[in-house]
């Protein structure tokens, strides 16, 4: 089962919920940090890493001795990643989306596939919990292919928890697509609610059942709960603001280590999620 943890707004507590849920469930669980731009879960899990690999994507490399400057590669490329200017052909590898069009279209077979590093993936573990994250190379724009690579480590038989990036565009979709459940972590503030609505919209397009965790639940106003009630989105857990929790978070400590009574609450959260996933599969998938 895949549970993806998303939010819309950043800094609402996705990583806190993902890491504490994963640690509470213990062995046989995978935690995949798909926030490859700013991965943070390892700062709380403190995994022992045993494997690291560079992830690359295909980009054009031109053999100028074969190129006759016909310009077909520049014509097919939608991303302006290869152009013929005067007597040279210029690939702009940073702009390439790796569609393979230029290689396919080149009549002289002058283009072969080189590689551009997207970032790296690290695989590790802590007490039977399997941990995988990706780190986007500084200056690299394209997160989704690296996210998909992190997700390729998901085992069908395991509980896989995904820590998604903030927002609602392509990296978030890449982190939620194909999940059995999306757990949305939000806060009862105008920014939290506004961005939650966008995230709910994205989850709706994907047709995945979802539920809410309200963090800092005693701050802000009531509009979030009114919205959740009106939309029929279940509130599965509330975490009140606690300065001690915030301070221990700042040091990279897990909530369930500082306040052990929360472990039971995270296990209950998991029970509620499995019930909702069961219900959704019985009613044929789509909730809401």
């Amino acid at each position: 089962m895949i549970i993806s943890i998303a939010s819309g707004k950043g800094g609402t507590g996705k990583t806190t919920v993902a890491a504490n849920l994963a640690v509470s469930l213990g062995g046989g669980v995978q935690l995949l940090d798909c926030d490859v731009e700013e991965p943070n879960a390892h700062l709380f899990i403190h995994p022992v890493f045993e494997k690291k690999e560079v992830v690359s994507t295909g980009v054009p490399e031109v053999d100028e001795t074969k190129c006759n400057l016909c310009g077909k590669c520049g014509e097919i490329c939608q991303f302006k990643a290869i152009v013929v200017i005067g007597k040279t052909v210029l690939p702009f590898q940073e702009l390439c989306h790796s569609c393979g069009g230029c290689m396919e279209v080149c009549p002289e077979h002058a283009i072969r596939e080189g590689q551009r590093a997207l970032g790296e993936i690290e695989v590790g573990h802590r007490n039977g919990l399997e941990f995988i994250h990706g780190r986007l190379r500084i200056g690299e724009a394209m997160a989704p292919p690296l996210i998909r690579k992190v997700r390729s480590f998901a085992h069908a038989g395991k509980v896989t928890i995904i820590d998604a990036p903030p927002g609602t565009s392509c990296p978030v979709i890449a982190s939620m697509k194909g999940a059995d459940f999306v757990l949305l972590v939000t806060e009862p503030t105008p920014f939290g609610l506004h961005d939650l609505k966008l995230a709910v919209g994205a989850v709706g397009i994907l047709g995945i059942p979802c539920g809410l965790v309200i963090n800092r639940s005693d701050m802000g106003d009531d509009r979030l709960r009114e919205y959740a009630g009106a939309e029929g989105i279940p509130i599965l857990m509330e975490i009140p603001f606690d300065r001690k929790i915030a301070e221990s978070y700042s040091r990279g400590e897990l909530l369930v280590d500082v306040r052990p009574e929360w472990k039971e609450k995270f296990l209950q959260l998991y029970e509620k999620i499995t019930d909702l996933v069961k219900q959704a599969s019985q009613t044929g998938g789509k909730q809401q």
Binding site: G8, K9, G10, G11, T12, T15, D35, E37, E38, N40, L43, F44, I76, Q78, F79, H97, S98, C99, G100, G101, E104, V105, L136, I138, G139, E140, A141, M142, A143, P165, P166, G167, T168, S169, C170, P171, V172, I173, K177, T189, P190, F191, H194, D195, L198, G201, A202, I205, L206, M219, G220, D221, R243, A246, E247, Y249, S250, R251, G252
Partner: protein, 291 residues
């Protein structure tokens, strides 16, 4: 023309609230919201749109099933697995590369331009604002950020305003890269947590990569004073201008609920005083200071 971009790496450190406070304090500026896929600045600025435009970018393949002979070439060529067994294109998976369109022997694939969102020119009580809304689950956020910043620049020139305040997105990927290029300076708003610090370092490296001068401030500073000190030291070692700290204060949430900036809500809080000091340092910083 000067442009200050406010970024953070980590989400939720207070970027938008700080941009809003600066809007209260700065004169002669245009506001621009470059966090196009979860834009929030308008919730405080309450902009009245004077112009609304569709944002069109990229194409999406659409197979005409009347012409399609199900030869399978497009499915073989598509590297994004965006074409299903019954020859429909899953829009969300289509990268818009056009390879299937080019090679289809029956010319059965259309390639219409996509409308991915909207952008607006608006008036606010703090002056003009350019903002946008990327459609949910859409691509091309970087292009929309570039567009918003270009329009902000045009507007500033037309109205003879000398500063653009840009609320940037979290992360270090495509929309952040689009927010940084050509900016006068980037103010990184971080927090004294392991995550805040880790993410600040990555986004600062990105700003270095694009040769944009970095300024650093710490929000919620008293949550971990040791970490705040370490961030200050780090900034000094790297030659980033450290422009101050803001205490953890529920007034940020209260002001947000009231739809006001922290300065408007209560000008006498510690947070408001800290923000005024930071703004003074930021605005007198080399490059942003206009005599």
């Amino acid at each position: 023309m000067k442009e200050l971009v406010i970024i953070s790496g980590k989400g939720g450190t207070g970027k938008t609230s700080i941009v809003a406070a600066f809007a209260s304090l700065a004169a002669n500026k245009v506001l621009s919201d470059a966090d196009v896929d979860a834009a929030d600045l308008h919730l405080i600025m309450n902009p009245q749109a004077t112009e609304r435009h569709d944002f069109q970018a990229g194409h999406s393949a659409v197979i005409n099933l009347d012409k399609c002979t199900a030869c399978g070439l497009c499915r073989d060529l598509c590297r994004y697995d965006a074409i299903t067994e019954d020859y429909t294109v899953t829009r969300m998976d289509c990268e818009g590369c056009g390879v299937c369109v080019y090679f289809c022997p029956e010319k059965a694939i259309d390639f219409p331009l996509k409308t991915c969102g909207e952008w607006y020119l608006s008036e606010t009580r703090f002056g003009p604002m350019v903002h946008a809304r990327l459609g949910i689950a859409e691509e091309n956020s970087g292009k929309l950020v570039t567009l918003v910043r270009q329009e902000a620049r045009k507007l500033a020139e037309a109205k003879k305003l000398d500063l653009i305040l840009t609320d940037g997105p979290p992360g270090i990927g495509c929309p952040v890269i689009a927010s940084l290029g050509g900016a006068t300076a980037a103010l990184i708003v971080t927090e004294p947590t392991v995550a805040g610090r880790h993410d600040m370092e990555r986004v600062a490296q990105l700003a270095d990569f694009f040769r944009v001068p970095v300024l650093v401030c710490v929000n919620k500073a008293d949550l971990n004073l040791d970490s705040t000190c370490e961030i200050k030291q780090y900034a000094e070692e790297k030659n980033y201008a450290f422009v101050g700290t803001i205490p953890f204060d529920p007034v940020f949430t209260k002001a947000m609920v009231a739809g006001q900036t922290v300065i408007e809500y209560d000008n006498h809080t510690e947070a408001a005083a800290a923000l005024r000091q930071i703004w003074q340092k930021v605005s007198s910083h080399t490059g942003l200071h206009s005599p």
